[in-house]
Amino acid sequence: MIEFRFSSLTEFLQMGGHGIYVWSCAAIALVILTVLLVYPIITARSQLVRIQRQQAMQQERHQHARSSGP
Amino acid sequence: MPNTDNRYQIGAGFKAVIRRDLTSLWRNRSDIASPLVFFLISITLLPLGVDPSDKLLATIAPGMIWIMALLATLLSLDTLFRQDYDDGSLTQFILSPQPLYLTVLAKVIVHWLTTGLPLALIAPVLGVMLSLPSGGYWPLVLSLTIGTAIMSLIGAMGAALTVCLRSSALVLTLIIMPLYLPVLIIGANTVSSAVAGFGATQGLALLGAALALALLVMPLAAAGALRISSNH
């Protein structure tokens, strides 16, 4: 049946002497997979901000042109 | 009437490209020599870098000759379409009624005649220098003859993809190397299994099959790549 295979948390962390391998694998996986999700979100957000800023600048230029016109 | 006429023209265009390329290569003979010189020098340096004992050299000879032939081919790929791209004749090839597949094939044949075939022909000399056992010479020449043809075909696609880039050497190496790997494995192991007495027919048959596949696919891919890189 499905049950927790380790009697204590320290045993779970040690993994019968192979803890360093198993947990460093888990850490590497965590880092790589997190980066794969976070990187596109962050860059997409900064791209949206950039588009916003360009749009604002364009509008400003339009208004400026209109107000300085005759 | 138009059918025979057309076929005549296609054959003529194919021959014309081969003749033109051979002539222009003959005029810059040093270009042909450079992969050969690279091949010779690197194999000469090899025993100086490791250990000149017969036993060690005989073990690594098939692999080393094959790797150096691969690198020499890689070195020569950039010239495949470069000049045509720079002087605009590539656009003419694409616009001409001649199928681009045949033009690419003609250029690949010329490339193989001027790099792959000479490499395969001088390989026995290098085999002697690296004390290759006597059973390995024919398999070496034959496997290199077929193998360099495959490498020219694959390389044509790589060269076509990178011809429009300013610094193409690194990109070319990166995209071509993984595709060369099966050729290297089969080729070098054909020679070593022949040396070990297992015969070379299996490896040569595999190389032949790979050549047939490459003949079908690679000029097509290279033609597509040339269309892309010529009109961006």
Partner: protein, 259 residues
């Protein structure tokens, strides 16, 4: 119009708006599946009699390897669809798939060598699967680099698609030749999955991990593609409106907007 759905599938705007709604439930589901699968594998699956607890790396390693390989085919198919039907979206999917596949290949190599140390006694063994993964990494790297260095985006897309398609033909050949080479040079070392009969208590968590990785791949691919859409369609009205709507809603909830 039977083909309407297909052409709508090629529209970046349709994709962006549709996935905005999907992501709300798909992203939490994926993360939940990942945690469940790996948690089950690391904590609740029985211990392996031969390898001890180090075998638990399989739950991280093997699905990553499967996805790294499948990802190459997904990338090539996307490229082929883009080439044949001349659609924009498949090219964006193709370009997005390359870095994800490369990252998963690196993950496979890293976890594989960490698994190799307790089992083989070395971090790097010239094993058929190791070499194949390394070559797969080079194949991905070629696509990533080619997409970056090409002068025009349109040409870069088509060039990458051609390279990916040629690579697809080559992947099985590379695999077979490496396998052949390995059988010539190495005596059979420790078989990592001894026998084909694997007990359900190990198989089920492994299957769950594979499912979780597939979901993860889809999620990452969607996120990367959405980013690529924003970059490429930056001048279209709908993206500009999207950016302005984000501004209007204020900067209080930026994370949700980006999702």
């Amino acid at each position: 119009m039977a083909w309407q759905w297909f052409h709508r599938l090629g529209s970046p705007r349709w994709f962006y708006e549709k996935t905005s709604r999907w992501l709300v439930w798909f992203a939490p589901l994926t993360i939940l599946l990942m945690l469940l699968g790996i948690g089950w594998g690391l904590g609740f699956a029985p211990i392996d009699s031969k390898q001890g607890d180090s075998y638990r790396i399989i739950f991280i390693h093997m699905p990553a390897a499967a996805l790294a390989l499948a990802g190459y085919y997904i990338m090539a198919i996307a490229g082929a669809v883009g080439l044949i039907w001349k659609m924009k979206l498949p090219f964006m999917v193709m370009k997005s798939a390359a870095p994800i596949g490369a990252a998963l290949t690196i993950l496979t190599l890293a976890t594989g060598s960490l698994w190799g140390h307790p089992t083989w006694g070395t971090f790097w063994e010239w094993d058929a699967r190791n070499i194949f993964m390394l070559v797969l990494l080079f194949l991905y790297a070629g696509i990533v680099v080619l997409a970056e260095v090409y002068p025009s985006r349109d040409a870069a897309d088509k060039a990458c698609a051609i390279l990916a398609l040629v690579g697809t033909i080559n992947v099985p050949i590379i695999y077979k030749s490496v396998d052949w080479w390995y059988s010539l040079h190495q005596p059979a070392s420790i078989k990592l999955t001894g026998g084909s009969s694997i007990h359900w208590s190990m198989l089920y968590p492994l299957l769950l991990c594979i499912l979780a990785y597939y979901c993860f791949y889809t999620l990452a691919l969607i996120l990367y593609t959405r980013r690529e859409i924003l970059v490429r369609e930056a001048r279209t009205t709908w993206v500009v409106q999207l950016a302005q709507a984000r501004l209007a809603r204020g900067k209080g909830r930026p994370a949700e907007d980006a999702l």
